[in-house]
Symmetry: C3
């Protein structure tokens, strides 16, 4: 694992008056570029050669500089990393960046300064560690079955690396687990010996609140260090969400949890304290587990069950694609900011204020 | 019941240059405070002690003054009421305010000037009276079964005091009614001798249009007195709305109608005349039934059935939580106003214009 | 069919400094008028007499001039057409305009200058031709069964003239087809000898992307001629979308595909290249099939199937009602424009720029 001091030494050679905000052209990059431009930053897009023209179709979010690559692994090449460093780039890592480059590769081989705390990759990417984090935070989360033999009720099965929901399935028993796993392997959706996580199935309404935590500047809930803002909430749209329109026989195509898009939602105002509390718990435990803990945007994937309240399924310790609904602000941001505010712009604002205060290194690993 | 003259006499002692807009910190209060601030009003939040910090997390909607209480019934205390009066408060009553304080208590014991016509509480809170109102208005609404013995088709059962949908259930027969009622009572969701309303079940798509009626100033549809605006529309999100993702066996947790949040929608433009007409009918009949009738925001809970058209289930004679989707305006408000407009801000605008015209008492009871 | 030169000859008598933007008061007319006003145009509403007051309820979208009619066929009257011409009107044809006046009538009898390429009516209105267009464009679309006897899997049955989804139904077999068709005819939803289209049923999530193609001025994806913008995306709301809330026995009312409204959505950013590509293919093939091809707004009705990707069901070669969600812009327009931008306003901008460049005739047929 690259030591933080090594990264900060790269940062120390940056021209802080010419910082660029850089990310991979995918996931939430339009929002990130758009927000960074609005905050006055130069932007750098790492872009697959055949995708450039599609990003040109959105000129107000098109990066000022392009680093064109042929495949995602090129991001680890010295040539690419040096080019990014030469542009004084601060990388914003979104879900696709982490998935395509790989957590371990980022930790071991990617030495360009990144916004946020790189250590979170270990706690987010490893589902065992993620559940330890939830325990430490005191969050309510569904029971985990360590082995298929432990399955004693309806359960939900996920692959380890998120993968946007592809290959997920629900099961009613141990037998059902093996039967469906076999089908998924045969369909090429899950690898032969792939690590899986089996969680108790919890009924309820899904809500994905988008938080922003900053020790630099915050308009939100005051914590011992910094503050926590609730920027927005979404609900994800998966093929299963239209299963009621189909026939049982052709349901296989609908029994799919790939996240295809998002829709905007708000929650009852009386749920906001619980939602904020979940965020607080996650932030405070993160500071203990991997100091300085969470930095910037994160999302908690919840289900609201009428008997159990909010149950936590997963955390995404970075900007999530659901924030793409709100490039000019959400139903919550007007209560925090007078100007239009997206999560992408909020990240850029965090960096801008840190630069102004001369403490940019505190946001970087 | 407190006489309106008594309330107006309290108002007459107000310093009209220093009016505050006050409400209970819950339901739609962020929107109400945010809108009132934008219209230049001082704001007063009646807030449970342990909720203050969560409201501080939204500084652009945080009230200028706080009246901290330990439980909702404190609102009726003279100390609290005098404090509100001392701040020249006009109370905006939202659904949680009415539910927690109680309609009867508001009518008999709460003497702080409130925006709107307090008499509507009697017509809205009593479901029998609400149906009389619908009949008078000539609205289409589902058949009511006066007793479980009358149930001759699929029906929907609700408790009397709304309660955010908690404890509601649908039944297929008289027998099914008694069986499910028993379950709900055992689960503590419905009281032993609680009053219930049994309505015919009508299939269709739910739409909740949000109206604003004003005799002070209106940009909307001209009526004999005043005008009616359609400000926005939402659809509510309840656990039942994800039932298709589950298993029949664990469905009990999904068979729940608690309103957990809202999503934004628009209707086909050719439905707007019908939607406006429903609002007109409700306003005009309200003027006859309890003059001066409805004042300000209200919502009609409808289902669009492809054979029957719009069927009305309920009316909420005040700001509804679905308007929380639109703190900066909805897909309809740009057709009414050039500036960003929420229902919360629209209320404050109504009060501001009435103050400017010297007729604030016409909005108060 | 009226020759284009005849229309251009009408246009040549227009006072180009006093162009009006005109449409029928229905469908998306509020958005069209609102956008045209924002771009500085005079607006003309063709309005049923009993609908005028409902349009007055939206003053910022109320047309400057009204042409009042008693029924839709009056639009073809010389009196109405001359009145529109006298006001230097450019007609924006939306779905209701086409449905109520009739494609053939528009082509043969309506001589007022219209925005866009009238020839598209032939390719859009005739489903056989539409599928030929899809084939030419190389789009993925579900198999078509030329006769009920060909039905060998689940299928979806539509009437020819869109009709907002009314009367559509899905079938599991040839027998099921005849049984359900009979029911629909008896219910008066489908005519005795009405032309139908039978498509293979494809499971997945519906997405309706809204495009804008212009050879006059475009901020979007550069094509050989002009550019293509993705302005927004919606999902339609039909009674079937709440079928899970009901009982099988009363399901008939839910088994209805009438479009009642729309909800806002975004797709994963990595789907945008595919979505833009579908638009490009449709535009480029349209230029070959009916030059100058598509002009202005259009929508592709898609389903995202996890195995097959995006499948195309239909194209609407004009402004669709789903754009009504975004009168001040969508989650995509801030990446294209710095100002609030609706599809209605985008049309007006296209006309304005064409007028400024002296090439308005290129947008007209």
């Amino acid at each position: 694992m690259i030591d933080r001091n090594e990264i900060l030494s790269v940062l120390s050679r940056y021209d802080l008056k010419k910082i660029s905000i850089a990310t991979l052209c995918s996931h939430s990059s339009l929002q990130i570029f758009h927000g960074a431009k609005r905050e006055g930053f130069r932007t750098v897009g790492i872009c697959l050669a055949d995708r450039v023209k599609y990003y040109q179709a959105f000129p107000e979010a098109f990066p000022d500089e392009l680093v064109v690559i042929d495949n995602y692994k090129d991001i680890l090449d010295d040539r690419v990393q040096e080019q990014l460093i030469g542009l004084n780039s601060i990388i914003i890592a979104h879900g696709s960046f982490v998935e395509y480059v790989g957590s371990k590769n980022i930790l071991d081989l990617f030495y360009v300064p990144m916004y946020g705390n790189r250590l979170v990759l270990e706690w987010e990417g490893d589902r065992e560690k993620q559940f330890k984090w939830f325990e430490k935070a005191g969050l309510n989360f569904p029971r985990i079955f360590r082995s298929p033999d432990e399955i004693d009720t309806y359960a939900f099965v996920k692959v380890y690396g998120a993968r946007g929901g592809r290959g997920y399935f629900k099961v009613s028993s141990r037998e059902d687990f093996y039967k469906k796993l076999d089908e998924k392997i045969k369909a090429g959706l899950i690898g032969e010996n792939e690590k899986l996580v089996i969680q108790e199935f919890v009924a309820g309404v899904r809500y994905y609140p988008h938080y922003f935590y900053s020790q630099i500047y915050s308009r939100g809930l005051k914590l011992s260090k910094g503050g926590l803002e609730l920027l927005s909430i979404d609900k994800r749209i998966e093929p299963i969400d239209e299963v009621y329109r189909g026939y049982p026989d052709i349901i296989p195509d609908y029994l799919d949890y790939t996240v295809t898009g998002n829709q905007p939602v708000v929650v009852r105002e009386s749920f906001l304290p619980q939602i904020l509390d979940m965020g607080v718990k996650l932030v405070e435990s993160s500071i203990e587990l991997f100091p300085p803990g969470l930095i910037g945007p994160f999302c908690i994937e919840t289900v609201y069950n009428p008997r159990k309240g909010f149950m936590v399924f997963e955390v995404s310790a970075r900007i999530v694609a659901g924030t793409n609904l709100y490039p000019e602000g959400s139903p919550y941001t007007p209560y925090l900011f007078r100007e239009p505010m997206s999560t992408g712009k909020r990240i850029a604002m965090d960096i801008r204020v840190a630069l102004e205060k001369g403490i940019i290194s505190s946001l970087i690993y």
